[in-house]
Amino acid sequence: MTGVLHDSALVAAPTYRSRAYVQAMRSAGLEPARAYLLPGEEPQWKGPERFEVDLRGAGQMTRFRVTEPVTETLEHMGVECLSLASADINAAETVRALTDAPEKILIYSGRGGALLRPPVLQTGKRFLHVHGGWVPDFRGSTAFYFSLLKEGRMGASALWLDEGIDTGTVIRRRKYPAPSGVDIDCIADPLIRADLLVEVLSNLLTEGRLEGEDASALGTGTTYHVIHPVLKNIALRRHGLIEE
């Protein structure tokens, strides 16, 4: 189903993930009511500008224009964009702006590693986040690399953000085959998260709400920290991303 998500807005920093999110939403015919843009430097990509990736291993290709800024995609979609004053999601002025936002659901695509703190979590909005790992087994930072090493595949979990690290109510999870020969940080992980996001938003449009499962019912799991580059190198090597 396609259409405008009238009660949902995007909160996005200029990252590859945000680019993947808006391009996936555009391809799926889904439109947020508005976009609130966190300021920051655009990432600079060196390499091919377009990718086609079979994310689910089912032969259906997902296209990604990795150098296309979020603002350009949103302009094509006709989505109203509002610039936030601070790059910090927890800054007082950000909290004020989001409190005043008419939308109840904020689709969050901020900078990696920034935890949302009580003031912004208490704005009365629900923050929809897609984590790059199957929770609770792969919570935390660079979880997709640990998932690749441990299980040979990646994952994504859509959840409502709370104060913890990937501990919020889980809306949907999906596992994905390991990508081969595709940059993981800038291409595969953002596209996988965007793929699940579109699935969740399509459901929101159809059902009008999103049900979730209490994270504590899923088990304890493991919270990871930034992967050491020796382990990352081994993961990259296994998936054809290091030229011998």
């Binding site: 640990f146 090493l149 992967i227 050491h228 580059p229 382990l231 190198n233 990259l236 290091i242």
Partner: protein, 180 residues
């Protein structure tokens, strides 16, 4: 041929975040192996006197004592008890000798001595040997920092323990490399 990028500066004094670390070079692992082998050789020259541990506080606990308790626990209990220090090390890239029951560092505490860091590394090794990639990742970071210290500043007994830690670290990485 790659030089290992974390073998220069003192990583306890100038910590490394490892965010988006560039590591896609084909020679990266060999560079790491060479760097570690070089440090293990230099540890043979360890000659410092045994370190004097800070006396335990009345209102807190020594990290060294906590790690000794964890060493004798089963893996699950040990993992639970060292977890706060795994988080602290990952966030702050340093530990202290003394902590309060609340988990905060004691105001009178010095930063952890080399012997305490080695005990922490041994606790991480135990978990990593059981298959925990999370603890192996933290161990690699801690060993990076330990390997940027002057090898002569380690007392011989501690140098021997650290050498064993580094040998286990090497075998765990080799095992992971060999898995397809």
């Amino acid at each position: 041929m790659s030089d290992y990028p974390y073998s220069g500066r003192n990583l306890f004094a100038e910590p490394e975040t490892y965010f988006y670390a560039a590591c896609a070079d084909a020679g990266y692992l060999d560079g790491w192996k060479r760097s570690r082998a070089d440090f293990r050789r230099r540890l043979a020259g360890a000659e410092a006197p045994d370190s004097r541990r800070q006396a335990g506080p009345r209102d807190g606990v020594l990290l060294g004592d906590l790690l000794e308790v964890a060493r004798r626990q089963d893996l699950g209990a040990a993992a639970k008890n060292i977890e706060p220090f795994v988080v602290k090390y990952e966030v702050h890239k340093r530990l202290f000798e003394m902590y309060l029951p609340s988990g905060k560092r004691h105001s009178d505490s010095q930063t952890a001595c080399l012997g305490t860091y080695i005990a922490f590394a041994e606790a991480l090794v135990r978990q990593a040997e059981d298959g925990s990639l999370k603890h192996l990742s933290t161990l690699l970071k801690l060993c990076d920092a330990l390997a940027t210290q002057d090898a002569a500043s380690f007392p011989p007994k501690e140098a021997k323990r650290l050498k064993t830690v580094l040998e286990t670290e090497a075998s765990l990485v080799a095992k992971l490399e060999a898995e397809s």
